[in-house]
Point group: D4
Chain length 244, copies 8
């Protein structure tokens, strides 16, 4: 319901083509579908540049499947089911078999390929599930990310060997647990926007990701931004906003 | 010391124009100037797309002034002195009088204007110093930000009245203390990248910004990214990385 | 044992109708029944306007059932068993079959319908169990709440479409996890008392509800009040106190 | 801009009395006054039942005074300046001399007296400034609160002696620091809504009010609600919402 | 190895009855038995007035049983196995069948009855396991505690009805979770030493006992002391130290 | 108002010596004096075995002096003004010149000497102000404590040299900041009750006393009890309860 | 790729033996093997004095086995698989049968014995798994540690009996949970470097090792250093660095 | 009082040269001097390899001076006054003029030079006061540390240019605030023991050093050890223990 539509509506009222009561009704018509158990937001893609992904936890499998269906019916963008339980993924794929599952993410109607260069750098192998979630979401939107794995700072030459990839990226996602120092190091090696994702990987004093989160927010490398712990999905969305 | 320079160096060695010992010396020559009390990093602009800003706290006024001078000598980018004490600002401006102070930030050699549209939305009047720091840094790099002030969520129509500005922005910075809810709301109204800056403004249970920080990191609006508490400078740097 | 009763007792002593020892005994007689394993508080309804609900966790099923029985014997108000395990619910319903279970709450002897308009707004589908607990308790006391579901702030128009319901409510309960911003938004849209219930729903930096709790307590919307994490029962009791 | 006004506007367009462009302008006209440094929200009283109070901290004295002036011009409700510094209070009272200062609160245009019985119970003498802020706000809205002071739980008979006042109140505000136990005790002695205000009073392990805050949120007395630490203003607003 | 023994030893050396090497050996002989996997401390009863109880968690069942055996062999005091797993209890009782299990505590060789009056007041039924642990340890040392159960502050008359028991006690242990307010109330009703035991019982904002712990440490009732969360054993030991 | 008094009162009513209305008045007469700004609790000494000390912070000097006066008028026990500001101490001593100030504590009407042996062990010289507060309160009640200073665990022989004093004490107060290990060590060297007082002394990771507090609550020495940070007054009260 | 190698490379270029392109390739050749799922760092032993241990959690058993194989192929140092799940240990030992498992650590190719005296002091039997991990790593590098077990401070004579071992050690590792006081005590008894390992053992207020961690960092014994909670591996590595 | 001395003492008793009472007295004579307000520990140098430094905070200037004097009288090691206030330093230097002040540390009787190579790497100029404290203490013990300043990870080449110094060090101290990532990086570049000192430098989310502390404890570089926040003195002591 943008300004042009509002002008058109008012014009219709002025010209008599549209009765005020009908205009009223249109003004009241909200851009979402009420399924009873959920309000599916078809206009989110317009407003946010991202469709509504279906976040699995806490949803009944049949509800998850129904919301996916509503989203597939209502637009042309990719549809994602994230952090899906096996039951949710099964139910949603049974109802809508064109999807493709990767880890705990299911993607329907992926976008056509896009040329931007996004690097996802993961500090250790234990950080891979989070990096994978990020990569799957980016891929759903047409971006084929460059993956750097096992480039933690204790062996800094492993990362320095990838300086070119970092320096020429359009955006970089850093996925790291423990002390999260990789984000600072990467931030110093690239002019691209860097989205840091702390992970709950670690022990000793890593406090299930809080230490990495705080460290990334305190980074001495200017201009890093941070998303929540283990939030690979959010990092991908942040990158998509940047590349719009 | 990029790859091209390295190839040239090796060519010089091959051709005999450069003795291996001299090559060795060059390879050792690091891209910073050692002032004794600080190592000024002239290549940061190349590596990070941002020059090294001089962070005031903890520096002697004459050191702050000297580092500013070294940076002015060594490049062509804007030079910033941030969170400067009155003594630091006075000393640096006395030594380098072309700078311009705005709040606690001093800027020398600002960039030419750039056309990108960046919105800085501040929830309340108490958040303005942080928003100002962000705006000053952006302005130093040629961006004239659009300021929205006093648009906290308790009077949501104030923000909704600015939906167009948000929807058409290239990037949005949200500056908010207390519960930080403005970030979520803005995130739902724009497809642009949103950088959320929690501020230490608030009382009751705001814990000097920690509540807003946690809330912004937990936002239900996908793709928000967050910087540290009161870090207007960091948010500006993040935006500059995105607009590169 | 109110003041009138005390006066009557003293009168009885003065007139000789009541021996001082008997008066002493009456003064000692406390308004609860001691079941050995629990002291059932029959006067709570008088003192607090709410009967004693039986909080399930940590009670043996037969004890839970016995306390329910004692409460049913001792008064005329609704009796509730909350956060009941399946074993507790089964035992209590076997002993007192007139109850009705809804989620983990069992209700006996519900009140007659009352006309007040209470809105329960839940940010997401994962917040529904907490909203349900609140609704079940309200229903036990005769209030049929208006339910708004999936009205999180990232799609603010979903909530704005319900402004009338909020503006005309006698009380509003907001149930939200993650960053809990819905409470601030609702607080700005209604003059009614707003009870905010943080939930443990979320990830990233939601800290199992602590983030939403802190955010709600720091809300920029004046006059919100907050109950503990996931405490739908407490929110219902707060509303009942307000509508008395 | 309620629904009736919208219907009238559309009628005006239909009848030709109002040009669509003018209607557009009216639709855009937002219910606040933009002072440049602040957006004064004249409709808040309609939406929230409370006028916008001016929160002092962080505002220039002349700005505080100007916002007070704008609010006095724009409505008929009480106007409050809260947590005012001496400079702010002086500036605002100089510009608008009809106000009356009480502690750090200044009130203009107080409401006519109302009959509701609100009890403010403060645990100790050190809690009085917070209780005073609450009382001043209530008084501004016509409520003359009943004050109970120094009724901490370590001398429980002091509180029990006031049981009647508590039992017959329309609302109770409990102001307590340290372990905050007074809230639980009061909650058990009254059927009225109880708003608990933790204060930063205490030592040992009171963590500047966090302990009392957590304790009040964990209270064994059902239906208590809580506001932020030292937030006497918020508690008063909560009571005003309840008594509407 | 007290001073008298040392004097005797030195006398022996002087008189020639004891060779310096033998004296040296005796001086080196430490008052514990080294079982290889544990050092059993036979002198603890002398030094601390309490025998070494065997804390179950982390010990192999056969080790637990062996340490119990060593303690039974080495003294005449009660022997306790605390927080025993079923396997540990079974193994220890199989090896030393005279013990008696109560909850997760097993007691061997209990002391003769003692006359002191110790009250254990538990706020709710869910606090009973902690109160039971405390009671079992006291009983092992001959004290038959007076139990008050379900005397939480929301129904304060239940506690006031027991004022005499509290006022005449030699020591009081208060066991409470949630907001832990019972400790403050009891502290105001008795001149006896009060040991407060926070429990992990609760929800909302009780943080698994941390809230009750902080509240008890911040109590407005002077002279309360506190032990760790759920530490019924520690509270019993504290009482035993006091009654020595 | 004990049971005997209540029996007498009822007898008086029965015999006609006391009119029911007068009895009612007496029953209502609460055992405290209401000074308007404070309720002085004269019966606390009976109930808690301790008179009400006047806690200075937050009280006007003249109020502090008046409460001291009321307490001096109303009983025969020691009267204490604790954590007094210089202004409070001056005002109170001007009005009641018999008091004696020691640090921030002022004592009037001290008790006659008592024979119990109480040891106060302070880990370092920086802990002395807290130890002094404890000693002053004990002295006010007639106990002349044995002081051990600078007996931190890093030089354990300094403490071991005082083993006899510890072993023969009736109660021990341990005052320690930093890691608070002294409490555990002392707990292992004495059968007496040990009250541990964490202090805010320290640096590095001592978190203004929280580390010592947590450490003392987690002590491996059984039967330690703990009071709040820097609460020397509370520790003294705890000891007085124990020695009653 | 040390300086000597770089000089040789440059010499090769000068002499014509090495083409600049080949030199470039060598300069790019990084000292690790990329297995696709991990980058094995063969030079770590040179850089850090420690080979790369394989940290089990989060790795597929076949990946763990493959990385072990790569490390065995690429050097001559000990190879460790730490915190291995049974599946990982089985897979790695099946592929490389020369390893030896101890607890959750597997060691291949242990070093020859070294003479240094390292003491590992564990406060209680529950701390043994952490002490064992430390001992196993030290043993892999040829050091046969001296084990002191069950020497907690509550029975300080047990530790004092081992003063000689502590005083003559080359390094000491202290493993303790609960309040972690053992570290301070040991620090006062030895001139050797002391590495303190807090463990998650404890209850009451031990916060899963955080209390011991903070206490050790706040120790009054100068020159202690600390590693993360339960990090026996890290403590062993720290000792190995010190003994190099 | 080592074993040899004890044997000699016992021999003396046997031979009659020493009366048992005198032996008793000697056994009781503790190796410290009791100044009344402090117990000076002359044997600490023997036990810990470090003399007792005088920690300034909380000590009267004349006490600080007296303790310094006692230490100068009682041994031959360096004597330090740390974190001295100007008054303490003045008083101590007036009484003992041979000392030399550096920042807030004063050193008397420094040791002769020692050859070990210790690197102190500080991330930024604001970390210098902590690095200076560490350097001053090392210098007092004869070690002339190599200082690396302004080598934070955002400009990693500044650190890599110093790889040789790191690789050949006998010990490295890393001083860093903010996210503390420098420690991990250094840990990967040297086989020497690395002591990490978190500093309270930073903003955003550095929590006054807690973030750096947690990050250093969670480092992915094996074998780092950590001391408390801003504890340059402790780091120097740790290094001295290692180099013994």
């Amino acid at each position: 319901m943008n300004e042009a539509a509002l002008v058109a509506l008012l014009e219709g009222v002025r010209s008599g083509d549209l009765h005020p009561d009908d205009a009223m009704a249109q003004l009241r018509r909200l851009p979402f579908a009420d399924l009873g158990f959920a309000r599916v937001d078809h206009h989110r893609a317009l407003r946010q540049g991202l469709p509504e992904a279906v976040y699995g936890p806490g949803k009944a499998p049949e509800h998850a499947a129904a919301i996916v269906g509503e989203l597939l019916d209502g637009g042309a963008s990719p549809v994602l089911l994230t952090r899906a339980s096996p039951e949710q993924a099964t139910a949603a794929l049974a109802a809508h078999p064109d999807g493709r599952q990767q880890g705990t993410t299911v993607v329907w109607r992926p976008s056509a390929p896009r040329p931007e260069r996004v690097v996802i750098a993961a500090a250790g192998t234990a950080d891979l599930p989070v990096a994978d979630e990020c990569a799957t979401v980016l891929t759903a939107f047409g971006i084929d990310p460059i993956r750097l794995t096992d480039v933690g700072v204790a062996g800094v030459h492993r990362l320095l060997g990838e300086s070119d990839a970092l320096a020429s990226a359009d955006a970089v996602v850093v996925v790291a647990g423990m002390e999260g120092a990789l984000a600072s190091l990467v931030g110093g090696l690239t002019p691209a926007p860097v989205v840091a994702v702390p992970t709950s990987v670690g022990y000793g004093a890593s406090l299930e990701g809080v230490t990495a989160l705080l460290a990334m927010l305190s980074s001495c490398a200017a201009g890093l931004t941070v998303v929540g712990i283990d939030n690979g999905y959010g990092a991908a969305c942040a990158v998509l906003r940047m590349l719009k």
